[in-house]
Each structure stands twice: as structure tokens, then as C-alpha cells.
Symmetry: C2
């Protein structure tokens, strides 16, 4: 007996047949006595098709028209889901973003949700009706339709869950949870029963493409318990958590306090195709880092790892950072141009494509000294050379040669006891 | 210098390329100094696809969800048209039905337009912006999206034209106007420069599927001058009417008064696959016709021609009528059942499928005696037997054997001087 917001991604609603499969999960929750609201993405592939048409119509299209066109995809699946649910005997009705309303700012194409008025939705809960809401979209103060940017449906679901004070927000997708690492790299990867918001954020930004960062941030801010689970699981099977207890047969993303026994390391992640760029003997003066990274952000290049070492004489410094391989050439060109324009001084620029970033993530790190040192030792045991190191409170990342990427992930996964964990 | 509403059908916006072609017609009108509003259908095939999905989701779907899903098609083309126009340097923005708003009743799936508030559109005209409006849809008092039923985009266009008091409503389609008869039956068919609303109504309901009847009725009621013209004409060619004068290179549908020299007959139409059903010696008493046709309308069977003859003794009558061949079996079954139930009495029921209804239409008939007689003579000259006759003020129809259908159309086309007309 609770209130649950469930969200289905594009592959989960790719056809009427799949919508029917997804609806069975809704039915199970309704039959268990829960109040349920549904948030849907567009059929997979549909948004790309619509975006293609808009780009074809004009490279310099108005973002407001882009939104009007692209938002149509969710409208279709919301209506179809409501029809399928009603057919199953579950009273249901669809809501478009403007009908709820889901109020956003006017940043068309990448709008942020400002407010969701829960009145309409509360009314449906009271009437025993399942509202089916278009994800990814809202309405601007101007009354025009907005979209939230890619992956926005997760954010819509979390925002709806926060607005109606849901007990849980279930993100149904094509994977069955969050794993300790990519199962394609090691079959020993284990599904986690629970993971903290902070860990999920680090995992999400490090390439575990299960949840959009933005939705995790919002869930953390509003204390919305998220679950990640598979639409393609048998909807009528007993609900058993990965640790064998009754619960959600997926991963729960929740407050750290909820996780009783914290793993030192919860997961190992891998991001490939990272370019390393080093500026040597940069004349060290206030604002030099701002000048360098300003030159990159002017070109909309997102920098990932940043390391700065102090040089021997103290007047110059070496700065190394990584960018995606695809941005390598653009970044080098921008830096050289900025150097020539006198925005900063340096002696040499060296760069290399094809690095691999391997990270270990875990809230347990906070209270355990020596995680970084042990990580370096585990890699040294396999003769893997470390090129760069960065750390945060709950994460340690190293850049290594791509050749060693899988080896490093497997070694760390074993080293931190993730192979045998059953949580 | 005027105000024009232009409407593009599904084949005219079937791809981004075609939308670009359509937009050139808008550009020509804007460049000529006109205020222009655009109404668009969904890409051809798209509405059928959406309807298919809804039916697949449930045969007994909620019409409100049907509308939510199906209305998405026009949303896409409206946005794309606005993008394409802007790209051409014509400021433009899209409007969905609820944004105008186009207020309808709540008869979802077949809603009627109640009111269009012109304020938003007038504002765009004043700002030199071309509004692009989704056809076929509106918003119900409940705030839910409605659709107007098939062909509703023509109706939307006429309603918008009436609301903004447009000088003209141009219906762009894949044919270049209204013809004296089907050009596939006789190459001598001529495009009409002008046709009256009344004639167009008769033509539309008789199988000249150029304009939806509903939109013509609305245009007549609100005195909106309609034109029917082709999207695929060269948008930059001189605008020459079919009669050789400068004007609209299509057919204008307008008030009878505007048509100076009225043809006695403006067109010859053909409707095939008509079944003839005769009830002989029907016991004549008040309400007997209501009983017979009530039995048919209970089964949603639409009856076309109806003829009643009085029998010799005055106490019984023969009633003959036509229904589409596809409804023949259902109609016969319904009549027999109603007869057995004692709703009316008759001696025999005979029926035959495969009739062809040939009609001559023209407002000039009103003032010219003998049009019907001359029609029968023209057919007799070709030894064509007439099975049924019905007449209205501006139309005479006969049912004949389908074998003679084309021959009859060509004979009448020639007989009434349409082969050589140049108007």
C-alpha cells in the first residue's frame, strides 16, 4: 500500500506489444493496492526520427519548433499506454506535459522543470485512476511546449514522484539493475541490491549509462527512492531482490543511511577513448587555469580529469587533462590559438588519444584510508602503468593505456571483493 | 494585399522535401503582401499508422486517448512547416489546437468546432508572423485534445478563415481543381474556374472527393471563398485561372452571385457500387417509411437514393432505395428481420448489387425547365436504361447498370456542352 511512480523507457514502449508487457508491471502494483502514476518515453527510435526531420528542415531551426515536433513522440505512447491499461480493467487517462501541468523554464530543447502542480494527479489517485504522463516535456511560461533534453523522461518521473510525494520511483529499462561493473567485461559482475545516490551519481557520470545524472541529482535533492529494474522481467514472478529477500528485483538507489553495510567499493567503472593533453612549463600566474579551460569551454569542449603539478622552480607548472577523443583535435587547435593570442604562456603541448579511465566508486572510501594506495598496488601487480590520477571523496580514477582496460577492471573487481559479494 | 488561409493536405506534407515545396506557395503569397495563416494535415499515412496502433492497443479504446494519440501527427508537420518557413526568411510559429485555442465540443473523435478565438492569430498577423496551425484538432471544454474526424483539416482551415475574416481559404491538394467530371472517364473533362457552394456540395457528396462536405457547408455558412489548387504546381509560375485570366490557377468555390454566367450543368458525377433494394406492396400507413428506414439506421446503414411510387389500388406502395454494395447483405437482413417483427408489412423484397449513379449538377437548372427530360433523352439516345430517378433543386441523378457508367458520363458531358466549355 503505497504510492509509486513508474517510468518506462523507449525500448520498453517500442511497440503496442511491448506497451502491453510494460502495463503488466503497472497492473501488478495496482493489484497490490498501490496508487500508481506512469511516465513514458517515446517509442525507441521515434525521437531520433523526429529530430532528423527537424534538422533536415533547417540546421538553424527555432528550438521552440523543435520542441513542438519532438514532444509528439511521448504523446503517442502515453495515449497507447492509457488505452492498454483501460483494456486490462485499470481505469487510466493520459496527460500531456501542459495538461498536468509540468511547468518548466523557457530554455527550449533543454528546459528545467520549475514546478509540478499535483492537483490533477491527486484527483486521479483519489478516483482510482492511473494517470499516464508524457515524459521529457513540459510547458513554458509562454504556453509553448518544451522538452527537457535527452534522457529527460527519467527526470520527469523523479519530478512527478517528488510532486506527489511518492514512496518510490521505479525506472523500468532494458537492464535489470546497476552492476558492480560492466558484465560484458567480467561475468563476475554482480547486481547491487542498493546503491547510494552519491555512488550512483559517480557511476552515472563514469559511463554506467543506466540513469541520467540529472534525474539522480533530483532524486537525491528531493529524497525520492529510485529503483532501476527491467521491463522484460516476468511481471508475475515473485518480487525478490538481488540479495534474495522480498523486495524490488532490481537496484534501489537511496540515501546512504538506508544502506546498512557499506561496501568500501561498490563498483568499478570504465570510460574509454579519453585523450590526454599536457601543457608543460605553463607560466604560473593567477588566472592561468581559467584562461586555459576558458579557451576550451569557449569551444564547448567538456574536460574530464584535470591534474596540475608544480614545477621545480615554482614559477611554472605542468597541467594535464583529458577530453573525449572526438574533441582532441578541436581542443589542441583551441589551446594553440589561445596561446598565440597571449591568453597564457607554455613551453610545449603534448597529447595522446586512446586512454582508458578506470574508477573505483564507493561511499565506504570516506572512512577507509588507503583505498587509493591499494588500487595502485592492484594495478601494479598486473604491471599496468598509471598515467594520471584524480580522486574525489567517494571515487578514485586512473588513466591507463586502453590495452589494459579490461584487465584493470577485472583485477580491481576481484581485488575489492566484488566478485563474491551478494548484496 | 489580403488575408489568406492556406491548407495543405497529407500528400502535400508527406516529407520534409514536400513541406519545402508547399512552403514556396506560402512565400509567394507573403511576398505579394498578403497576411497568411497556414493549416496542415499530418504526413500522409501517419494518421492511419497512429489509428492502427490505437486499434491494436484495444478495439474498445477510449475516444479521448484515440484523440491524444492521433492528434500528434499534425503537431509534427506544423512544427516542421514553421521551421521551413523561418529558414526561407518568413517569420513563423506553430500552434497546436489548444494553443490557438480552437475550441470544440467534447465529441471526441468527431468533434465540432464551437469557437476559434482570433486574438493570438491577429497578434501574429500584426507582427508579420505566419501562424502554422495543426488541422483536424482542437481542445474540449475539459481541456483534453479532440479531433474532428476524417478530412477535418479542411474544416479547420475554413473555420480559421472565418474566425480571422480571411479573404480566401486556399485548399492545396494533389489535384489542381474541380473538374466537370472525372478526367479518368473522359479526357474532355475540364477544370472549372468557379463553382458555387451548392454545386460543390452536390459534387462532394456525389463522389468528387476533392473537398470534405463539412468544410464546404461551413464555408457556405460563413461566406468563406474557397479555392482548390495543387501543391505540386510551380509556385513561381504566373497565377493564371483555368479561364485564362489572372487569378487562382485552380477552382474557386464561392457564392452563386459571384458566378456571372451560370452553366445549366456544371458537372457530371459518378458513384459506383450502389445496391438497389425494392420492397413491393408495402402496406401504406402513416409512419411506414420511418419504420423501414429506422430499421436501416438502427444498423448505421446510410441510404442514398429513395423513391416511392404509389400502387394502383392506393392502399399499398412500392419503395426503392439504394445503399452501398458493402452494406447490401446487412440491409436485406435488417429489413427482413424488421418485417418479421411486424414493424411494417410488404409482399416481396428484391435487390441487386452493382448499380451506378450518374448525376448532373448545376445551379442553372433552377431556371431552366427540362433539364431532367433532356438528360433522359441523352441517355435514351445511347440505349441506356434508367432504373431509378431522383432530383433536387440543382441535381438530377439516375441509377443505371454499371456497364453503361462511363458511356453515360461521356454522353452527358458532351450533351451539356461541357466538352467545349472554357470556364
Amino acid at each position: 500500500m503505497g504510492r509509486i511512480v513508474v517510468k518506462f523507457g523507449g525500448t520498453s514502449v517500442a511497440s503496442v506489444e511491448r506497451i502491453r508487457q510494460a502495463a503488466l508491471h503497472v497492473k501488478r502494483e495496482v493489484d497490490a493496492g498501490n496508487e500508481v502514476a506512469v511516465v513514458v518515453s517515446a517509442m525507441s527510435g521515434k525521437t531520433n526520427e523526429l529530430v532528423g526531420w527537424v534538422n533536415d528542415a533547417s540546421k538553424l531551426h527555432d528550438a521552440r519548433e523543435y520542441d513542438a515536433v519532438v514532444a509528439s513522440g511521448e504523446q503517442v505512447t502515453a495515449g497507447l499506454m492509457a488505452v492498454v491499461l483501460s483494456e486490462m480493467g485499470i481505469p487510466s487517462r493520459s496527460f500531456q506535459g501542459w495538461q498536468v501541468p509540468i511547468k518548466t523554464d523557457d530554455a527550449h530543447g533543454a528546459a528545467r522543470i520549475v514546478e509540478i502542480d499535483p492537483t490533477e494527479l491527486e484527483k486521479r489517485f483519489a478516483d482510482g485512476v492511473v494517470p499516464v504522463i508524457t515524459g521529457f516535456q513540459g510547458v513554458a511560461p509562454s504556453g509553448r511546449v518544451t522538452t527537457l533534453g535527452r534522457g529527460g523522461s527519467d527526470t520527469s518521473a523523479v519530478a512527478v514522484a517528488a510532486a506527489v510525494k511518492a514512496d518510490r520511483c521505479d525506472i523500468y529499462t532494458d537492464v535489470d539493475g546497476v552492476y558492480t561493473t560492466d558484465p560484458r567485461i567480467t561475468p563476475k559482475a554482480k547486481r547491487l541490491s542498493k546503491i547510494s545516490f552519491e555512488e550512483m551519481l559517480e557511476m552515472a557520470s563514469l559511463g554506467a549509462k543506466v540513469l541520467m545524472i540529472r534525474s539522480v541529482e533530483m532524486a537525491m535533492a528531493h529524497k525520492v527512492r529510485l529503483t532501476v529494474r527491467s521491463t522484460f522481467d516476468d511481471p508475475n514472478a515473485p518480487q525478490i531482490a538481488p540479495d534474495g529477500t522480498p523486495g524490488v528485483p532490481g537496484t534501489i538507489v537511496c540515501d546512504e543511511e538506508e544502506i546498512m553495510e557499506k561496501q568500501i567499493v561498490s563498483g568499478v567503472t570504465l570510460a574509454r577513448a579519453e585523450s590526454k593533453i599536457t601543457l608543460r612549463d605553463v607560466k604560473d600566474r593567477p588566472g592561468v587555469a581559467a584562461a586555459i579551460f576558458g579557451a576550451l569551454s569557449d569551444e564547448s569542449i567538456v574536460v574530464d580529469m584535470i591534474v596540475q603539478n608544480v614545477s621545480e622552480d615554482g614559477s611554472t607548472t605542468d597541467i594535464t587533462f583529458t577530453v573525449p577523443d572526438a574533441e582532441h583535435d578541436k581542443a589542441v587547435k583551441a589551446l594553440k590559438a589561445a596561446g598565440e593570442a597571449g591568453r597564457f604562456e607554455y613551453r610545449t603541448l603534448t597529447s595522446a588519444k586512446g586512454g582508458a579511465k578506470v574508477s573505483v566508486v564507493g561511499v565506504g572510501m570516506r572512512n577507509h584510508a588507503g583505498v587509493a594506495a591499494s588500487m595502485f598496488k592492484a594495478l601494479a601487480d598486473k604491471s599496468i602503468n598509471i598515467q594520471l590520477i584524480t580522486t574525489s571523496e567517494i571515487k578514485t580514477s586512473v588513466l591507463i593505456d586502453d590495452e589494459y582496460a579490461e584487465l584493470a577492471v577485472r583485477a580491481l573487481h576481484t581485488y575489492y571483493g566484488l566478485d563474491k559479494q551478494d548484496a
